[in-house]
């Protein structure tokens, strides 16, 4: 895709610059002339939306850091100082706090899109893996960011999550001590989390550059999964993709603004407006919504170490996905059976999210008494998360490899433009 450059410097200055540092050429080739498959649907707009999210988080975060105090005694009150006394501080903080959730909504949709249309398959393995790295960094950044207000949920969430790493044999204790900067979550923990929370977004930005670079080498996937074969299959990025991405971004911003201006605390937890108190543990410690599926997987496994491994394994599966899927056909548009398993997978991820927010022993169907299976009632969220966890792993480790070998896909078009221009096939 990264073919011959068509950049023509127009003015004397751009010609002079082009011979020395061809930034103009890079921008032209990457964001203007760059050939984009003409059949991209709105699921392809989340890449642009995610860059917007990263930009918003970095800018609001830098301003917040100007007013924030990273100390156990001052953190909570400095956040309230931002909310009450800093000009538009409430706006900046609500954008940053809800921006994290918006970022994850967009990244999950972006990932499900990649999963459905086979965007991880050759030659896009490295592109996909870089995306997984970004996702991992995002989770680390978001987790540390949630600790910074030093509320009850910040503190006890940090205790629960950092303690998990202690489950690893031999190195566990060293890792937690290093992470805590001592023997419990305390002042040094907050200080290093603040430092890392400021650092990691720039690491993310760096990996995003690699992600976009890799994208521009292999080109975008598209709903047919058939790579463009001629100029008839593509349109230039500008204005075609820019205007479409711009429209999608503005719609996304409407959702974003609805949260910021009308329900800014809906995605947070009330307990985080109580200052951290190590001596009082909240009745129910829950992470932010975007971690709930993994929290459910963690708690589904009775053994602590195995639970931690399952949780990390759930993310690890994503990295191995390019080699787990054996299908010759990229897009699930032509794989009816895969579509069914995919829809179930999406529902399962949602169910895991719900389970992560409940107490394990709560009843799924209220009032229905069942029998005890091993350690818990069958009608409990812990058993629901176990079944869902089983499907989660089976999807990657069984369905993906086996289905690709046994299914009979529908006919795949020769080129992108044939189904579009021919207009015979149905669009999903």
């Amino acid at each position: 895709m990264s073919g011959h450059s068509t950049y023509q410097p127009k003015s004397a200055f751009t010609r002079w610059m082009d011979a020395r540092l061809p930034v103009g050429r890079l921008v032209w080739d990457s964001f203007v002339d760059y050939p984009t498959p003409r059949n991209l649907n709105y699921w392809w707009t989340f890449g642009g939306i995610l860059s917007l999210c990263l930009g918003v988080q970095i800018i609001t975060g830098i301003v917040l850091a100007m007013h924030y105090t990273p100390s156990a005694a001052g953190a909570f009150n400095s956040v309230e100082h931002i909310m009450r006394n800093v000009n538009y501080g409430w706006l900046i903080r609500y954008i940053h706090a809800n921006g994290a959730s918006m970022f994850f909504i967009a990244v999950y949709l972006h990932m499900f899109r990649g999963l459905y249309y086979g965007s991880y398959k050759a030659p896009r393995e490295v592109l996909w893996i870089l995306g997984c790295v970004i996702y991992g960094l995002m989770m680390a950044t978001a987790f540390m960011g949630y600790v910074l207000p030093w509320g009850q949920m910040s503190f006890h969430g940090a205790v629960v999550i950092t303690n998990l790493l202690g489950a690893f044999p031999i190195v566990g204790e060293t890792i937690t001590t290093l992470l805590w900067g001592g023997f419990a979550v305390d002042e040094p923990t907050l200080k290093r989390f603040f430092s890392l929370h400021y650092l990691l977004p720039f690491v993310i930005a760096g990996v995003v550059v690699l992600h976009v670079w890799a994208l521009h080498v292999v080109g975008q996937n598209n709903p047919t999964g058939v790579d463009p074969k001629s100029k008839a299959d593509t349109v230039p990025f500008t204005p075609y993709a820019t205007v479409k991405d711009g429209f999608a971004m503005s719609v996304f911003l409407i959702l974003f603004a609805t949260f910021v201006f009308y329900m800014p605390n809906a995605l947070g937890h009330a307990d985080n407006y109580i200052p951290a108190n190590p001596l009082v543990t909240p009745a129910h410690i829950v992470p932010e919504w975007y971690f709930l599926p993994f929290y459910a997987i963690l708690r589904a496994v009775p053994d602590k170490l195995m639970g931690v491994l399952a949780m990390f394994g759930a993310i690890g599966c994503l990295f191995a996905l390019p080699w787990l899927d054996t299908s010759k056909v990229k897009s699930m548009r032509y794989r009816p059976q895969a579509q069914l398993y995919f829809v179930i997978f999406v529902v399962i991820c949602w169910i895991l999210g719900v389970c992560g927010g409940k107490l394990p022993d709560d009843q799924v169907i209220p009032g229905l008494s069942t029998f005890k299976l091993f350690d818990s009632e069958l009608n409990s969220y812990v058993w629901l998360s176990r079944f869902a966890t089983l499907y989660y792993f089976a999807y990657f480790l069984v369905v993906m490899p086996v289905l690709g070998l046994i299914e009979k896909p529908r006919p795949v078009p020769e080129t992108i433009s044939s189904p579009v221009l021919g207009d015979s096939d149905k669009k999903d």
Binding site: Y108, K244, G246, S250, F261, L267, H269, Y273, W350, D362
Partner: protein, 280 residues
């Protein structure tokens, strides 16, 4: 089909994600507060009544460390007066502040002194420190009220319900000494319950004694001073205290929404125009 399922799942995650049941307490009754809805604003008369309840009742035990007297005269606040955009000049705020005695140091001698408050001073705390607060309250320090309306699931509705929720304990329930039964307080009363195990009463034991009584506070605007009125007004006041920028936020939100909808419309029109000759 796929699209619908995905959107539905995303919507459900948004709705169901943070909604957690809290204990086995009674569900607080809904109150139609004036600040609710996209164009809601605080009812200033209600905030003034609520402030009076706080000042005359709650402030005896509860601190409100994050608030300064000047906040009372800020836009949207109980004593905001458009004539005084700078709340420090508001005579009403100055008078309220001057009633308080603030701990300070004499700038000449360095001796600890008390002086009348100014609008820049924070609300004085009833106890010198946490230990003193615990010692005077049976071992449990009364929580700070600055963020109470955001720090409890159910918010102001929960606060109003809790303040009215001091029912006589049901027959068969033994209330430990120094504690009070409240049907809206999250907790577990099963240890003191001698009745049917499957019908443990809702609620929990709270250290705070019933704080409100009819006519305990005299409202300057002539509003009848029932427990319900006091509880509702102080809940509204605490909501203002926790979220003082709510009016500013909703006003800006309306402008942002209008802009974004127009902007999105413009971009959609551009999109249609740019793509008009391209099949896709």
């Amino acid at each position: 089909m796929l699209r619908k399922v995905t959107l539905l799942a995303a919507a459900l995650v948004l709705v169901a994600g943070p909604a957690f049941a809290a204990g086995k307490a009674k569900e607080p009754a809904d109150i139609a507060f004036s600040y609710e809805g996209p164009f809601g604003t605080y009812n200033q008369a209600q905030l003034q009544r609520g402030y009076k309840v706080y000042r005359e009742v709650c402030a005896a035990c509860h601190s409100m460390d994050l608030l300064a007297f000047r906040n009372l005269g800020d836009r949207g606040g109980p004593f905001y007066d458009p004539k005084y955009p700078n709340a420090n000049d508001n005579p009403y705020v100055k008078a309220i502040a001057a009633e308080a005695q603030i701990n300070d140091l004499d700038s000449e001698t360095g001796d600890a002194i008390k002086r009348p408050g100014t609008p820049a001073d924070r609300f004085p705390a009833p106890f010198a420190n946490v230990i003193a607060a615990k010692a005077s309250n049976g071992g449990i320090a009364p929580p700070d009220l600055s963020l109470m309306a955001k720090a409890r699931s159910g918010g102001p509705e929960y606060i109003a319900a809790l303040l009215q929720g001091y029912e006589a304990p049901p027959k068969g329930l033994t209330v430990p000494p120094g504690l009070n039964y409240n049907s809206y307080f999250p907790g577990d009363v099963s240890a003191g319950w001698s009745g049917d195990k499957h019908h443990t009463p809702a609620g929990g034991y709270i250290a705070m004694a019933p704080p409100l009584k009819a006519d305990l506070v005299t409202f300057d605007d002539g509003t009848k001073s029932t427990i319900k009125q006091q509880a509702t007004d102080v809940a509204a006041f605490l909501m203002w205290a926790a979220e003082p920028k709510l009016e500013e936020r909703k006003q800006m939100g309306a402008a942002v929404m209008v802009f974004l909808v127009l902007f999105a419309g413009l971009l959609y029109a551009s999109y249609r125009r740019v793509w008009r000759n391209e099949s896709h």
